[in-house]
């Protein structure tokens, strides 16, 4: 049997390491008064920590901390890496569950009186652990470099900067400069993945060692004799309780992450934007508190409230002089902790309620959500090396505008773009190109300086027609780019007039025959524009009189598409 082989191998390992004593010591821990579901919180916290370590390492395998890469790499994890949304979601949900379980742990310890002598130091290391967890939450929130992380974290560093005497220096050091940038991210990253984990694990080792030294604090009202009689070992019953609690926690997290498709990722951080930032739920009470302290008092509240809360918690074991752990004998400590928690919960709920009633905020949230969707959809094409908000250049209208500015605005005017001096204009004005108003003005006077007047392409005569006929011709020309709001009958009349007015002598409609004037099928559509950009001097367009250069080899297909999309969008521009 394989068991024999395994046993031999384990015996060998035992003789070389003595590991069985270690396992024994871990599992055979004596629990006075027996196992209890009330003791599961510490183990659940350790389990969530394990989840944070695993998912954190996974995230680090795809994340790049710099102002130019942070957002793009997180968007890549969230939307492109296999199950990236799940891994990131588990890390984020784990953070929330960590804080929640920490609070439950705190309540259990308080209610059972486990902070009392001789466990004061253990209680203090627990408080330090809680502080480290909050520092984790704060530093992790910034790392995606999205709008909410960027703006919400500004509040924290600004408050830090308002600390008396050393504030400004501290803030500069933490940020790595007077404002947020690359160093802020590398600093926060170093804290989040090296300093804080090392601190946490060190404190946790002490915390668990002290716990093992003093053992559990059983529920009040049981005699020493009874506790001894019902004593049990950690394995298997307590471990089983712990595992069930972990399983419930894990199932809840997985369900939550699948339901929400992981953690939200906002639009890339944009220092120029206005953003209505809110912290994560566990900082909401503090956020709400700040609303009541105007002006200079705000700093007092922001730094004072956590200091007072922390001070009370630190002092708790020393305040509690009761003879027993019975809650009735410990009204003050219980009132302080539970009252404080209730107050914080109340403040947090108030913040939620106020936001729910605040229409402006709700609108901002909606707008931010849409902006995030747009940015993330554009990020699927890859983000330019500038990173962050450069993702918007993937939008053909935005990218096309920049390309137009660079390659076309030397000759063509378009809205605010183009040559300032009239003499530098060497092509038609493309403001609202192919809209009804543009077409009408063009047909009335094609050789005006706003159209072909400054070019060698002059041959088209102003259309001689009644106002009604002109409207019909405009409608027909307008219909060529297939807009949604065409007056079909008017356009059909225009099509008739096109031949009656002999326009067809120069303008071909089959897209093949070479005529004097440019081909009209698909006029001003993206495809038509791309062809024109590639071969303006083709007989299908302006022929050899054209002074416009070919962009076939100057721009890539993608760039040509973007310029065309930008110009085509002029039709519907306001």
């Amino acid at each position: 049997m394989a068991r024999g082989w395994t046993r031999r191998w384990l015996d060998w390992l035992e003789s070389r390491t003595g590991y069985r004593a270690l396992v024994h010591a871990a599992l055979e821990e004596r629990i006075r008064g027996g196992a209890s579901p009330a003791y599961v919180f510490g183990s659940v916290l350790t389990f969530i920590l394990l989840n944070q370590i695993v998912t954190g390492i996974l995230l680090a395998a795809y994340y790049a901390p710099s102002a130019t890469t942070a957002w793009a790499s997180v968007a890549y994890i969230q939307d492109q890496v296999w199950l990236g949304w799940f891994v990131r979601g588990m890390h984020s949900a784990g953070a929330s569950m960590m804080v929640l379980t920490l609070l439950l742990h705190l309540v259990q310890v308080t209610v059972y009186g486990a902070y009392r002598a001789p466990r004061e130091v253990n209680w203090l290391t627990g408080l330090l652990l809680a502080a480290v967890v909050m520092a984790f939450a704060l530093t992790g929130y910034l790392l995606p470099w999205d709008q909410k992380g960027y703006w919400a974290t500004q509040v924290a560093t600004t408050l830090l900067g308002a600390t008396p005497l050393v504030g400004r220096t501290l803030q500069t050091l933490v940020q790595g400069g007077p404002v947020y940038g690359n160093l802020t991210l590398t600093h926060f990253f170093a804290l989040h993945v090296f300093v804080l984990p090392a601190t946490l694990i060190l404190l946790l080792v002490v915390h668990i060692a002290l716990f093992r030294r003093h053992g559990v604090t059983p529920k009040w009202g049981r005699s020493d004799e009874e506790l001894e009689r019902t004593a049990d070992t950690f394995w298997p019953r307590q471990l089983f309780y712990d595992l069930v609690a972990m399983g419930v926690m894990l199932a809840f997290m997985v369900a939550w992450v699948i339901k929400t498709h992981g953690a939200e990722l906002g639009a890339p951080a944009d220092p120029a934007s206005a953003f209505d930032a809110r912290p994560e739920w566990y900082f909401l009470p503090l956020y709400q508190l700040l609303k009541y302290f105007p002006g200079a008092l705000e700093v007092v509240a922001a730094l004072g409230a956590p200091l007072i809360a922390g001070g009370v918690l630190v002092a708790l074991p020393f305040l509690d002089r009761a003879a027993t752990t019975h809650p009735r004998a410990r009204r003050l400590p219980l009132a302080l902790v539970l009252g404080g928690l209730a107050g914080a919960t109340g403040l947090g709920l108030m913040a939620k309620v106020e936001d729910a009633r605040n229409e402006t905020y709700q609108k901002n949230v909606q707008a931010a959500h849409q902006e995030a969707q747009r940015a993330r959809a554009l990020a699927l094409q890859g983000v330019l090396p500038q990173g962050g908000t450069a993702v918007y250049l993937n939008d053909p209208l935005e990218g096309g505008r920049l390309l137009f500015k660079e390659h076309c605005a030397g000759c063509h005017r378009l809205g605010p773009l183009g040559p300032v001096a009239d003499k530098d204009v060497r092509g038609p004005d493309l403001t609202r190109f192919a809209s009804r108003s543009w077409l009408e003005a063009f047909l009335r006077d094609p050789n005006s300086p706003a159209f072909f007047g400054r070019t060698r392409v002059k041959g088209m005569k102003p259309v001689q027609a009644t106002e009604e006929e002109l409207r019909a011709l405009v409608e027909w020309a307008y219909s060529l780019s297939d807009p949604p709001d065409v007056d079909r009958s008017l356009a059909a009349r225009g099509r008739q007039l096109f031949e009656e007015k002999d326009c067809d002598l120069c303008h071909e409609l089959d897209g093949q025959t070479e005529g004097e004037g440019p081909m009209l099928p698909g006029l001003a559509t993206r495809g038509w524009l791309v062809r024109l950009l590639k071969e303006p001097a083709s007989p299908l367009f302006f022929g050899d009189k054209s002074e416009m250069p070919s962009f076939a080899n100057k721009l890539t297909e993608r760039e040509l598409e973007q310029v065309a999309a930008f110009v085509a969008a002029q039709r519907d521009a306001k």
Partner: protein, 175 residues
């Protein structure tokens, strides 16, 4: 009592296994993502523009070859899209009607091959390998001819498929 303990142990083992699987499965798939991305993608070599045909020097008329850098456009690297990435350099020229595009990388040790206008031949400055105007090996340690690249001419534009080849081997193997 014993039975109950055994049941607890079994259940505990089952729970641990299940939780481990829930955490480990997505983790493994997540780490395999680069492999998934590779699948179904033919790593073809794109033809990149290097010069205009009418700019090409004709070596048969005594002109010197053109040294051009080959620039790839819109290169994806995970989340980043680089508008331009320099791939390497080529010697590009004509001899009569034939268009040549030779990698500047010396097949011997990877130095950059120069053109010697006096001698009218290609010379590697590192170990003095020399090559004819067609890139054929003449003297020196180079184990093979200069690496020629596939050329296309479209609408007056010369394109070449830039590749790198294994160094110091007699045969030309793309890498």
């Amino acid at each position: 009592m014993m039975q109950r303990r055994t049941l607890l142990k079994r259940l505990a083992g089952l729970l641990m296994g299940a939780m481990g699987a829930v955490l480990a499965t997505p983790a493994v798939l997540y780490l395999l993502d680069p492999l998934r991305r590779l699948r179904g993608k033919q790593p073809g070599v794109p033809a990149l523009p290097v010069a205009r045909l009418d700019q090409l020097p004709d070596l048969d008329r005594g002109e010197a070859p053109l040294r051009q850098s080959v620039v790839a456009r819109d290169v994806r690297d995970a989340w980043t899209r680089f508008p331009e990435v320099r791939q390497g350099s080529v010697w590009v020229y004509r001899r009569g009607d034939q268009v040549f595009c030779l990698s500047t990388v010396c097949p011997h040790a990877g130095c950059s091959v120069d053109y010697d206008e006096q001698q009218r031949r290609f010379v590697c400055p590192c170990h003095r390998s020399t090559f004819s105007l067609d890139g054929k090996r003449q003297d020196g340690p180079s184990p093979r001819d200069m690496d020629s690249l596939e050329v296309q001419v479209r609408q007056g534009q010369v394109f070449c498929r830039y590749q790198r080849f294994r160094l110091a081997t007699a045969s030309k193997e793309a890498i």
